[in-house]
């Protein structure tokens, strides 16, 4: 259970207008690694925006997750350049190694595996992101090593 004041602190950074909704939700996402239900409710109260609308936004935008994610988020870029250069194999390897499907979180809550449609680093394809850090020219056989190395630091 998150204290209401934590949400308020984030909401206060922004103008009290509907324009700020998405930005506030993204800050929730960064802070808690997901958008908590109480956060949506609090936001609805403070900004006087229907809860149903905020919930709809939460389900629409991929950057937001309504369920808690793992401590580390691994993103496989599935942009066109990455696709051609082997992103599907990398994704498969990760699904196999982590034992989760895409958008899934490992049972120990350590990793969440996600796909992202192009991070704009196509010249370094295929790209894998570990906690927002870019790794270019990854290979299916090496990707787990990168992740372990990065997350054990």
């Amino acid at each position: 259970m998150v204290e209401v004041s934590v949400f308020d602190r984030i909401i206060e950074r922004y103008e009290r207008s509907e324009e700020s909704l998405l930005a506030i939700l993204q800050d929730f996402q960064r802070e808690f690694h997901y958008v908590p239900e109480e956060g949506i409710r609090r936001l609805s109260e403070v900004l006087r925006v229907p809860e149903s609308k905020i919930y709809a936004m939460g389900t629409f935008y991929k950057a937001l997750s309504l369920t808690p994610r793992g401590r580390h988020v691994v993103k496989v870029c599935t942009g066109t350049a990455c696709h051609l250069k082997g992103a599907p194999q990398i994704l498969e390897a990760l699904e196999r190694e982590l034992g989760v499907k895409r958008n899934g979180t490992t049972e120990d809550g350590e990793y969440t595996l996600e796909c992202v449609n192009c991070v704009g680093a196509c010249a370094m394809a295929p790209v894998t992101l570990v906690d927002e850090e870019y790794h270019g020219q990854t290979r299916a056989s090496k990707v787990m090593d990168i992740i372990r190395k990065r997350t054990e630091e």
Binding site: E37, I40, P50, S52, Y55, A56, L66
Partner: protein, 242 residues
């Protein structure tokens, strides 16, 4: 209200500028099928694509949804060309694949000559059994009733109207306007022993102090009283005994 003339199916018609093609056609007895549009709900329309027609203007033709395309001077509309029929049939086939159990869609598709689906059908999940995700219910809830209990959630093929977290809504007043507006009858509302059930929530009804008949959800009375300042006692009796 500026009046202009437009041509629909070869007939020159006089119409109020910026009214939608569908309205003008209907007023003039030209049938265009439609599902997601309700003339009394401002932001409805544009999603089911059943009412597509050819709009010729300024030497250029495109298919537009007649429910939200405004009539302007010099517009010519054709509602029954091979292109319109082909695309309409395609749309209906997709809808039929989505909600094979909806009588409304079955009948409408049959009228256009679509009786079989060549694509993979959706398994009839309960939730979207007959729902074509046209969003009319959510527009009604927001604009006509004003409570915003439901909204269109998810995206793509999973899009559906829902309450937040699919839990019983805190703001829903059980008025049933969404169920009434739904073009395919996808929203179920049931009433048993003075309790109305809709969107997974039970709404106790006010019983008439004279005849005892349940006639309006308590939550709806609260809402009306709050919004209009109407005397609560007014709802103690059913319309028959006021």
């Amino acid at each position: 209200m500026e009046k202009i003339s437009v041509i629909i199916d070869g007939k020159t018609l006089h119409a109020v500028k910026d009214r939608c093609v569908l309205q003008v056609a209907r007023e003039n007895g030209i049938y265009i099928p439609s599902l997601c549009y309700n003339s009394e709900v401002e932001s409805s329309g544009g999603s089911c694509r059943v009412c597509l027609v050819e709009a010729h203007q300024g030497g250029r033709m495109r298919l537009v949804t007649s429910c939200n395309y405004p009539v302007r001077a010099g517009l010519e509309v054709k509602t029954d060309t091979p292109l319109v029929r082909r695309i309409r049939r395609g749309v209906l086939e997709l809808l039929l694949a989505r909600v094979p159990d909806s009588e409304v869609i079955r009948e409408m598709a049959a009228r256009e000559g679509v009786t079989e689906v060549r694509f993979r059908r959706d398994e009839g999940e309960n939730e979207r059994y007959k729902c074509i995700a046209c969003a009319l219910c959510t527009h009604v809830c927001a604009e006509v009733v004003g409570v915003h209990a439901i909204a269109m959630t998810e995206r793509g093929a999973d899009k559906k109207p829902a309450t937040p977290y699919h839990k019983p809504s805190e703001v829903c007043i059980g008025c049933g306007a969404c169920a009434y507006a739904c073009p395919t009858g996808a929203i179920t509302m049931k009433e048993t022993d003075g309790v109305r059930r809709i969107w997974g929530k039970d709404f106790p009804m006010v019983r008439c102090s004279v005849c005892g008949a349940p006639h309006i959800p308590e939550a709806q009375v609260d809402w009306i009283v709050k919004r209009t300042g109407k005397d609560r006692a007014f709802f103690d009796k059913c319309p028959d005994h006021r």
